[in-house]
Symmetry: C2
Subunit: 334 residues, 2 copies
DNA sequence: TTGAAAGCGCTAACAA
DNA sequence: TTGTTAGCGCTTTCAA
């Protein structure tokens, strides 16, 4: 384990000079640069980042907190974050919280412990008070989600109008009885989408039956299936289902099939998010495509401005969504 | 930003005593413990881990390298790794390489730079020489995969027999013309599965046509679709397709449908991995379920033994797989 | 253009 | 039971 001392010794210069070479200072004589380079190669030297980071009081590392990487929705967002991070010489620590508060707390502590310089939340179990407190002393940004009652930068789509668009589409296909598979009530996006659904229905003069709404804390195939089983055997059952995530929607499609009905002929199903699988499922899934890559990238850029330029202001950035109509809601296509 | 100095000052003790309290040494007088605890709370002190890690020359952090979190196959493995890591007080750094050698190199350098103490590879672009070199000076373990020609601990299933089982199942369903969608040729698992396919066919006295084998470097829906399009319009087209991953298989199913054929009636499709989708797809997918959670956990345990106990020996651990038959290959079920 | 030396915040050996 | 102090490996200021 060669240290900078060893390199200095071998090259016959001081550690300061070695440090200058490593950090591309241009005040080192070419001859010295060569000697140092040679010594570095010969010793297989790599600088100890713990020492460097301690000394510089910066790690160029940020935390990215998500519920679980098993949710494909996150994949593209993370790619956007990573690409921007890399461009600015930051690296990211991806952390699965599994929605466990203790696990999340552990990771968040990495901020106070100086292991990371900032954090992007794709998801959190913290209360709005905790979030506001955290924001006071740390650089944080929310991506694709945020907690109502907090003042923290975030980048999102217009979830209210996206949901409205989707429900209007279903109505335009002739549906009058439209069920909703809703997500976690604590999330802003859930509430906004819920309101979009309610308003679209009421604007069309359609009633919303309580038994058509299924609340699912968790976005999983299983919950999508369970929701459909709930609807199918209720009296006056819905002819269309709007799920707040593609995963829920795909579970819903599966359950409709399992029970011997067809999508979209018997029941139409629509999702939300635009994950890759939405295009590959059978039938392909009508969904709201979120600009996930860009949202991730923008969130990272906002975070970098906070960390580098000390920007204190918190902003809301809203990006465009897109309604993509596919087989699962199309009466004309099989 | 309170430091240990500040706490010592406030509590009226030395930094050593504060350090002892933080690290649960039981040689501190209860009265001192209380004073220190109080000061810590009042100052909102958190130890600087960069300093601690530098001093201790350990970070209790390990690297987990994978190609992309968008592959749901990794989700359960990572969960297994994380749970074991947490139990032993390690935390993991999850890194997407995107199969880019430069990005991978960057992450691997974190070993030499002392940011992490070990690494688990779910995937790598490195050559066997590079891997062997890396293993000399670092603690590394391969999980669910390995590179032939390397001497590195790894945990896997018996890919050869798993593939054989699957192809035999297809043959038992009456198929004689069975196509293969193969993965990245550099991976051991690909070669083993390939050989299993070849041997199962030849044991049954069945011919393997060259045009029935589609090599796909990448495990994506798109490649699964492309493969099927290739097969569909070849003369003497196959009646069954064995894909080396569930993602490829689901893409294949999608393409069969798109072209107006049915699964499994016209073409049966089998996958490999046992990802969550495999049960939720329409039709549900016959696949080889790998014990992903256990494989991840075991890999982490092997790594911990190397890091903590300095175990040098490299082992191969082989776990059981399971053939799960579902709709996509079943003639009896619709 | 270079080197000496201070010091980042912590742990741990040693002495008291 | 406690405090003093060296030092982990690096960067950076200051002086030469």
């Amino acid at each position: 384990m060669a240290t900078i001392q060893d390199v200095a010794m071998k090259a016959g210069v001081s550690v300061a000079t070695v440090s200058r070479v490593i950090n591309q200072s241009n005040t080192v004589a070419p001859k010295s640069v060569n000697k140092v380079r040679k010594a570095i190669v010969e010793l297989g030297y790599q600088p100890n980042f713990l020492a460097r980071d301690l000394r510089r009081a910066e790690t160029n590392r940020v935390l990215v907190l998500l519920q679980s990487i098993s949710n494909p929705y996150y994949a593209t967002i993370v790619k956007g974050i990573e690409d921007v991070a890399q461009k600015h010489n930051y690296s990211i620590m991806l952390c699965n919280t599994d929605s466990e508060i203790a696990r999340e707390k552990n990771y968040i502590d990495l901020l106070g412990k100086k292991v990371v310089q900032g954090a992007i939340f794709l998801d959190t179990e913290m209360s709005s008070e905790e979030i506001n407190l955290l924001e006071k002393n740390n650089h944080i940004v929310f991506c694709c989600e945020y907690r109502p009652g907090t003042q923290v930068s975030h980048v999102m789509i217009d979830n209210y109008n996206a949901a409205r668009n989707m429900v209007s589409h279903l109505i335009s296909q002739g549906h009058k009885k439209i069920a909703l598979i809703a997500g976690d009530r604590h999330l802003a996006s859930t509430n906004q989408r819920y309101q979009g659904y309610i308003d679209a229905m009421s604007d069309a003069g359609l009633a919303v039956e309580k038994q058509w709404i299924f609340w699912s804390e968790e976005s999983s195939f299983k919950m999508g299936m369970r929701a459909v089983e709930n609807f199918l055997y209720s009296k006056d059952h819905p002819t269309a289902v709007f799920a707040m995530s593609d995963i829920l929607a795909i579970g819903a499609i599966r359950a409709v099939h399992t029970h011997g009905f067809r999508v979209p002929e018997d029941i139409a199903v629509a999702g939300f998010d635009g994950i890759e699988y939405s295009a590959a499922s059978v039938p392909s899934l009508t969904t709201i495509v979120q600009p996930n890559y860009d949202m991730g990238g923008l969130a990272m850029e906002m975070l970098i401005r906070k960390m580098k330029d000390g920007e204190r202001e918190n902003k809301e950035v809203v990006l465009e969504h897109e309604l993509v109509i596919r087989e699962s809601t199309s009466r004309t296509i099989v």
